[in-house]
């Protein structure tokens, strides 16, 4: 061999470290196509495939069986699942809660408390119309169900139906704390042309006299109002206070992250959201922060989000359509596709952030006509939001 090939074999006398490196790279390249591509039989019986979260063992079946016939078990069990879902962002828990409610929902008449809980689940899934139906059923049977009125006000508010939402708040009179009724009303007033007065009113509510849930709600409301007024320093103060009180309030955490991102404070955003990667809305903000930093660590999250949105789309769900629009616009840089998602989202929900993403995507896609529904809504309701003003001018 050596004789035949003349001096050629010297190419193999390279430096050892170079060869080792080359070998390692080759092994890596060659192993890519086998490592993750196919199902496999694990090498060891002891390999752990899944760690089971609380309440997801098959063993809980007797409780679930019992819940079919006993309301006093069904209600707390479903409530437990809903609260686990809230605390962890794990959507499967909502399904478990639905399974517990199912036999009760099919009864006629269904117990009002079951209907209210079902409405809460439907609201979490952004099935707002169906949620309102259940609440109306519950209220027919039990016109003084404060929880039903409050949930109804929340759903209507998300849909941008402020007048009806205000009426729901009115039904709370005599059924709920005065402070809760104030929060319910003033938060709506702040969306319909009375932002400054409403902000002052909510800020003036005595924090100590509020129940703890209402306290977090107050902070969240104050933070968002301050942001819409353009007082970002105050907004940050409220969000920070609120998150100290209610660290599991994901809605507020996301809002706070958005505030930081708007100011380019990417590192602080990452700090705020560390440990929340498993929730799509949080992951989106983490990816955005990495983009601001100009590093490539967001790539992983980008791929995961893209896959998750795809599955959601295939399932025909629109829980995270607002996030999807933002993802398509700011991460994937596909303004046309982002606009479609923002428009679909606008049909479902009409919070200030929904108006914002519709205006942003319409502008990016050079489709000012597509922004018209949001602009009309803002004008009709008297919605004040400095973040929207930037996009309102060119159209008016």
């Amino acid at each position: 061999m050596r004789a035949m090939s003349g001096g050629r074999p010297r190419i193999f006398r390279g430096r050892l470290s170079g060869e080792a490196l080359l070998g390692a790279i080759l092994l890596l390249i060659a192993s890519i196509d086998v490592a993750w591509s196919t199902p496999r039989v694990p090498g060891s019986d002891a390999q752990v495939l899944a760690e089971l979260p609380v309440g997801t063992r098959h063993e809980s079946t007797p409780a679930r069986e019992l819940a079919r016939s006993r309301l006093d078990i069904a209600l707390p069990l479903a409530q437990f699942y809903v609260s686990r879902s809230r605390a962890t962002g794990d959507l499967r828990y909502l399904g478990y809660a639905e399974a517990v409610l199912q036999p009760w929902v099919q009864r006629s008449p269904a117990p009002p408390a079951i209907l209210v809980l079902q409405a809460t689940i439907l609201q979490s899934r952004h099935s707002f119309g169906a949620a309102l139906d259940r609440l109306d059923l519950a209220l027919q049977a039990q016109p003084d169900n404060a929880q039903a009125w409050l949930t109804r006000a929340t759903v209507l508010r998300v849909q941008g139906r402020y007048t009806e939402a205000m009426a729901s708040c009115g039904h709370l009179a005599g059924q709920a704390d005065a402070a809760i009724i104030d929060l319910c009303r003033q938060s709506l007033a702040g969306l319909t042309g009375n932002l400054r007065a409403a902000y002052a009113a909510i800020a003036g509510l005595p924090q100590r006299e509020l129940a703890s849930e209402a306290r977090a709600w107050r902070y969240s409301e104050l933070g968002e109002m301050a942001e819409r007024l353009g007082d970002d320093a105050a907004a940050e103060h409220w969000f920070t206070q609120g998150l100290q009180l209610a660290p599991e309030d994901f809605y507020m955490r996301a809002a706070c992250a958005d505030l930081l991102l708007r100011h380019g404070r990417a590192a602080e955003t990452l700090q705020l959201l560390a440990g929340y990667e498993s929730m799509e809305p949080m992951l989106l903000r983490i990816v955005l922060a990495h983009r601001l930093l100009g590093d490539s660590q967001g790539e992983t999250g980008r791929a995961l989000l893209s896959g998750a949105f795809e599955v959601e789309q295939q399932r025909g769900e629109a829980v995270h359509r607002r996030e999807q629009a933002r993802f398509l616009l700011d991460v994937e840089q596909q303004p046309a596709a982002a606009l479609v998602a923002a428009q679909e989202n606008w049909h479902v929900q009409r919070e200030p952030d929904d108006a914002l993403i519709l205006l942003r995507t319409a502008q990016a896609a050079h489709r000012p006509d597509a922004a018209a529904p949001a602009l009309l809504f803002v004008q009709q309701q008297g919605l004040e939001d400095v973040r929207l003003e930037l996009y309102q001018r060119p159209a008016s």
């Binding site: 090939s5 039989v41 962890t88």
Partner: protein, 373 residues
């Protein structure tokens, strides 16, 4: 298999694997139609399997492979009760094969392959899916229904447990186009075939004289040399591809895949320690026969539509040749232009060949000696 899924899964591995468990519950059903036969797989999250049938035998809140494996018969019974596939006239009884594990973005899944035998050619499929519905009504089955090169997706479960899908045989024109595309794509993604071809083509612009490589003087001999190699490779793999696709000859895929890897090693080493310098076309022909079996296994994965077998086979083959020709036309003029320089003979030839041989050697070891699946 699916490179995109693989990529996402690999990315997930870099993160904490437990941190990604928060999507809604999905099952993945793949059904592939081959005439009267169906093949496919059903995948359920290990966590969902536990909730449905209870496999955490030692109740420590962790499901191990041993526990899942022990629950295999129970899982098969559960799936058989809650998933049925049939034509409008009759059911297609499912038989399961052994359980495996697949890693997805949100954790490990129990992966159960199956086959099903229908009576008569499948034109419509009735799928009833009620897995998980009693414990998690929001669970959905994401269906991929594959018929030859055409696949459709669907969502199963929820209020309507049963759904009807039409399996429309593609028109001849559509089939031709789809298989042509698949052939072109396979040459692009099938790196092993390209590496083999290039190992043989690298020296085509050179001449072996006195144990040294020298550039050819004119384009004509280089062109003829390339033409001979490409033609021999094409002829050989077309023969075996057709024989295998039409079920005349069959070879175990482990054998063909290993020999394909070995063929690359040999062809690449031949550039560094030349044994065969004049008649590389013969190597191309001899190993081309085996590469044909490799192409055939891709085609077998896709399946040939029963209505347009020959035309689809022809289209797939033409696609491979088109893709191959495009690569050769793009690369060989550059090789020809570079042939007189020292870089081509001293760097690209030996080091390129060494690199190819090394990669192929790793493949050879993996394919021949490591356990599959």
């Amino acid at each position: 298999m699916n490179t995109r899924t693989a990529l996402v899964a690999s990315l997930a591995l870099l993160l904490s694997p437990a941190a990604w468990a928060h999507v809604a519950s999905n099952g993945f059903l793949v059904v592939q139609v081959h005439g009267q036969q169906l093949s496919g797989s059903i995948e359920l999250a290990v966590r969902d399997v536990e909730l449905a049938i209870g496999i955490d035998a030692n109740r420590d809140g962790k499901v191990t492979w041993g526990e899942l494996h022990a629950g295999e018969p129970q899982l098969m019974r559960y799936v058989a009760q809650h998933l049925s596939i049939g034509t409008p006239n009759s059911s297609c009884p499912i038989s399961f094969q052994s359980l495996q594990v697949n890693q997805r973005v949100d954790g490990n899944y129990a992966w159960l392959p199956f086959t099903a035998q229908c009576r008569g050619d499948v034109r419509q499929l009735n799928i009833r899916y009620s897995l998980m519905q009693d414990v998690d009504p929001s669970h959905r089955g994401l269906l991929t229904l594959v018929d030859g090169p055409i696949s459709q997706t669907g969502v199963l479960g929820g209020a309507d447990a049963a759904a009807l899908y039409s399996v429309v045989a593609p028109s001849r024109g559509r089939a031709f186009f789809e298989y042509l595309q698949a052939g072109i794509w396979h040459i692009w993604s099938g790196v092993d075939h390209l590496l083999f071809l290039f190992s043989l083509l690298l020296p085509a612009v050179l001449l072996r004289k006195n144990a040294r490589w020298e550039p050819v003087a004119r384009a004509r001999p280089a062109f003829l040399s390339i033409l001979k190699v490409v033609t021999a490779f094409t002829l050989a793999h077309s023969i075996t591809l057709s024989l295998a696709a039409l079920d005349v000859v069959r070879l175990p895929s482990r054998l063909t895949e290993s020999v394909i890897a070995a063929s690359i090693v040999i062809a690449a080493l031949n550039n560094i320690f030349p044994l065969v310098t004049e008649s590389r076309a013969r190597i191309a022909f001899a190993f081309g026969l085996l590469h044909g079996f490799g192409f055939a296994s891709v085609l077998a994965d896709m399946g040939l539509p029963h209505t347009a077998r020959l035309i689809s086979l022809l289209a797939f083959n033409l696609g491979i040749e088109t893709g191959q020709l495009a690569v050769v036309l793009a690369v060989m003029p550059i090789a020809y232009a570079l042939r007189t320089g020292v870089i081509y003979r001293r760097a690209i030839m030996p080091w390129g060949s060494a690199l190819i041989a090394a990669v192929a050697l790793v493949w050879l070891v993996q394919r021949a000696f490591l356990p599959t699946g």
